[in-house]
């Protein structure tokens, strides 16, 4: 079982870092929260009231939880800006509701909605303005990852789940990513980040959670967790150094 005994809570506005060796269940955990996988038992509760278990991913996204993918998921054939337009679906839905059917009959309504302007803002925020009209296929790996974050932002999430956002990025890109994430937290978004790069997580996170073989073994401020003997054993015992992993 990929995830078998994990219990934790995330406060609004926190940045929580989740880390652990390969196979510890980190990605599975995010997939469970986002609805891509269904749990066989247990509960996932959002904002104290809403149970997420059994809801399809698009419903969970609509509730305010957005996710990025470890391997960047894109729409081949579309440009960066078009990606954001697609991702703006929830915005259009929230703003117009059923009246969006009207936009089929007259363009006037659609010209007024906020979504395209928000898309331009997000482009700016994620430093993707330069590749606005480039095809997804032509983006660098770092840009692809930022596009993933940008698309998640278009969903106007309360909670952003990030699956290894820094992996594969060069040092400069990691700094940019950090800046974006801090800006987001400043706006009040709650972040839940998985990564291998422990230093990156430790710098950014308010709280760290360590997973090992699908079980939570530590939970607390990053400094404490990283020096927790169980955590160190989990890493060294697996042959991983407690540092930037492959």
């Amino acid at each position: 079982m990929a995830v078998s005994d994990v219990t934790f809570a995330v406060e609004a506005g926190e940045i929580v870092g989740i880390f652990g060796p390969n196979g510890s269940g980190k990605t599975t955990l995010l997939s469970l929260i986002s609805g891509a996988l269904k749990p066989t038992s247990g509960s996932i509760v959002f904002k104290t009231r809403t149970s997420l278990v059994g809801l399809p991913p698009h419903r969970i996204a609509a509730l305010g939880i957005a996710k990025t993918f470890q391997n960047p998921q894109l729409f081949e054939e579309l440009t960066t800006f078009e990606h954001l337009s697609v991702a703006g679906h929830l915005m259009v839905k929230r703003e117009l509701g059923w009246r969006r059917i009207h936009t089929l009959l007259s363009s006037r309504l659609s010209r007024a909605d906020r979504m395209p302007r928000r898309a331009e803002q997000v482009l700016e925020l994620c430093r993707l303005r330069g590749v606005r009209d480039a095809l997804a296929a032509d983006l660098s790996y770092g840009q692809e990852k930022m596009l993933g974050v940008a698309m998640a932002l278009m969903c106007e999430p309360d909670v952003l789940l990030l699956d290894e956002p820094a992996s594969g990025l060069g040092n400069v890109e990691v700094v940019e990513l950090e800046r974006v994430l801090r800006d987001l937290r400043g706006e009040g978004t709650t972040l839940c980040i998985i990564d291998h790069q422990v230093k990156f997580l430790a710098k950014l996170a308010d709280r760290a959670i360590s997973l090992y073989h699908g079980t939570k073994i530590a939970d607390g401020p990053p400094g404490e967790v990283l020096s927790d003997p169980r955590v160190v054993k989990a890493y060294l015992g697996e042959g991983h150094a407690a540092g930037p992993a492959a």
């Binding site: 698009h58 996710k67 993918f69 998921q73 729409f75 054939e77 697609v86 679906h89 089929l104 969903c155």
Partner: protein
Amino acid sequence: MSRNVLAQCALALAAVALPVFVKNDVVLTILVFSFLASILAVSFNLIFGITGQLSMFHAAAFGIGAYATYIAMHDLAVSFWTASALAAAFVVMVSLVIGAICFRFRLKAFYFAVVTLAFAEMARLVVVNWYSVTNGTLGINLSQRPVLAVLGRSITFESTLSWYYLALLALFATILVCGRCVDSWMGRCFAAIRLNDELGDALGINIFRYKLLAFGIGNMLAAFAGALYAYFLGSIQPAYLSVGQSLAIIAMVLLGGQRRVAAPVVGAIFLTLLPHIIDLSAEMRAVVHGAILIFAILLLPKGIVGTVETWVRRRAA
């Protein structure tokens, strides 16, 4: 983009003005058939090229539309327009049921094709066997003509010229409907489904709902095409629902192009005109459809319109 629009407007005007210069009844008849085929192709493309779902049910929607229109006119004594609207509504209902079954079960693209094929075959079997209603393999000969009451006068669609404009108008309407859908938020959802439905789901798009929408709208338009085709031709056969008919529609779309709403028109006109330029028997025509299908998949994956567009873009770069 605006060059594209200008070209389309020019073509549209040319089509409207054509009968002024071309009086030949045979040519006009062929053009009517090609407009109706275009409606089929464009509506199929909404499901296949735009949303990425290979449906083998399109010919069945076409045929059911035809038969249902006849039944409504015959049994309920309503006008052609009401009858075809009822037929289209019926086809939409059937599509919703089939679509709900297929999409709820999250059938992957290939299985969707096989299941829609099975449903289409079942529909054809029903038509062939329900002799009392459909006259089975003999088909139905139609004597009535659509009549439109407007401004105190009534127009009977009898002459080729009247059908030319009716079919052309229907084609414009189809392209307009599909175009408005594709250029809107709906089209973005369709593209997401086609390109990466898991990502679309994660971004808040209800994949099930939009697949159903594409399927429903596409089949509805096919039903209207069926009604028009039947009353223009003057007869309805179970062959309307055959796999061969689906094959022809797919060939038109693959040949014309899948990414632009109106691209399939090119394929439809070409394939409708072809047997008249080169004298082809019905069997030979089917062979050509098969061959074009294969040719288009292997050598011309973007279709004529797509390939021309890429070529033009490369020239400009």
